[in-house]
């Protein structure tokens, strides 16, 4: 019997849905065992009946539910609760669902700040007032999925990697457990560390030093070169079977898209604490809240100066 799969998307860019497609050939094997019962990005299935005739929201029963995107308005919350009721296993797909992701940067301002910026105060905007009819109200802040409903599994990443997604879906189909890496990005990073103490943080535009064509293991650690790399405070595993983290492969610093290893820690605190110990002043990092919690703002970022 085919496994029934439901998918929903909230505040998201649909990059994680592209990751599903990006699984490539293994997807064909997975699809043979899966029956997709609800997936707004792929098929026309209305929540309140095809002609809007139902009074109650209806999502079909499913064995596995995938949800990408963070909770930004009451509709998202409502659909998330319905998905939780109808899905036996619920999976947070991608960093927005897992940690708030890019949309959660909005938590640095109040809803009023954001609405004013979008609809009133920007100089190129006609002051037409805020839209208010027939649209769901915003939640008080951006939430990660697990803050709203119980979640059985998280698949972080911006976007999540096709390999992880295929691994998790295959494990579920075979009734096995799928485990995320419990190590940091640095554990998988092949760059050379020489334990040098630094004092300044460079702008990334200055360009990390490396020799094109030479293996990554001959390149010096980006943090030691003076570029802010979030590897130490970020969950590893983005490299998949190749191990080498995705951004490092492109000679770029880790941006922290997999989020922290635990919901209880704040990457900003850990990172600033660690940098202070090796002698980097926190003031050198601009816009610390957003830079160090870029993908994990749900429950961590708040309007500054408002408490």
């Amino acid at each position: 019997m085919a496994v029934r799969l439901a998918e929903e998307w909230f505040a998201t860019c649909a990059g994680c849905e592209v990751s599903i497609l990006d699984i490539g050939e293994p997807l064909l094997d997975i699809l043979k065992q899966v029956e997709i019962v609800h997936m707004p990005i792929l098929m026309d299935h209305k929540l309140f009946g095809q002609a809007g005739e139902r009074a109650e929201m209806e999502i079909p029963e499913a064995d596995v539910g995938l949800i990408s995107g963070s909770i930004r308005n009451e509709e998202h919350r409502h659909v998330a609760e319905e998905m939780r009721r109808k899905c036996k296993v619920l999976i947070s797909l991608g960093s927005c669902a897992c940690h708030g992701g890019i949309p959660a940067l909005a938590n640095l301002g109040t809803n009023d700040d954001i609405l004013n910026l979008a609809y009133r105060d920007t100089i190129t905007t006609d002051r037409n007032g805020m839209p208010c009819e027939e649209i769901p109200p915003l939640t008080d802040r951006v939430y990660a999925l697990h803050e709203v409903v119980a979640v059985d599994m998280i698949l972080p990443g911006c976007p999540t990697t096709p390999e992880m997604l295929a691994g998790a879906l295959t494990a579920l189909l075979e009734g096995k457990e799928y485990k995320l890496s419990t190590k940091s990005v640095c554990d998988d990073c092949p760059l050379q560390r020489e334990k040098k103490v630094l004092s300044t943080v460079k702008r990334r535009l200055e360009g990390p030093r490396f020799t094109p064509g030479r293996p990554l293991s001959e390149m010096q650690c980006l943090m030691e070169q003076g570029y802010l790399c979030l590897g130490p405070v970020t969950r590893g595993g983005c490299g998949g079977s190749e191990r080498v983290p995705r951004c490092i492969r492109a000679y770029m610093t880790c941006e922290g898209c997999f989020g922290p290893l635990s919901t209880k820690v704040n990457p900003m605190v850990d990172m600033v604490g660690a940098l202070a110990t090796v002698g980097i002043e926190a003031e050198q990092i601009l816009d610390r809240n957003a830079t160090l919690n870029r993908f994990s703002g749900a429950g961590r970022l708040r309007p500054v100066g408002k408490r």
């Binding site: 820690v265 704040n266 900003m268 605190v269 850990d270 600033v272 604490g273 940098l275 202070a276 110990t277 002698g279 002043e281 926190a282 003031e283 610390r288 809240n289 708040r302 309007p303 500054v304 100066g305 408002k306 408490r307």
Partner: protein, 149 residues
Amino acid sequence: MSVAVAEKFEPKILALACNWCSYAGADLAGISRCQYPANVRIIRVMCSGMVHPKLVLQALDKGADGVVMCGCHIGDCHYQEGNVRAERRARAISVLLEDLGYDPRRFKLAWVSAAEGPQFASLMAEFTEVIRQLGPNPERVAEPAGKGA
């Protein structure tokens, strides 16, 4: 905040005192019978340099109204330069508190040697007074309804 509430407010203060100087200083304050406010709870740490910023933030999140970190004077550290590290971290803590929206005055770093019992007592009295003026920490998470700012 009304004056009546301010008068009733008794701050909870966490002092992180290093094993080698400041804790001994606190001990000396005790055996010398120096008076200082009972608002201060002391936790002994091996070195002020081991106090990670997250410990201070956790204390503030869990109900402390102020945190004071005490170590040996610069140059006197039992571990050579643990207090130099503490000083660097203290600067980071102040920045973090501001970033996270706390009042940075709720955190203080001070040097107290083993011979400075009275100084320890007056430091605690002063800091308690500062926190009393600031009022309750609005970020206490487990605060029952009706209490606090």
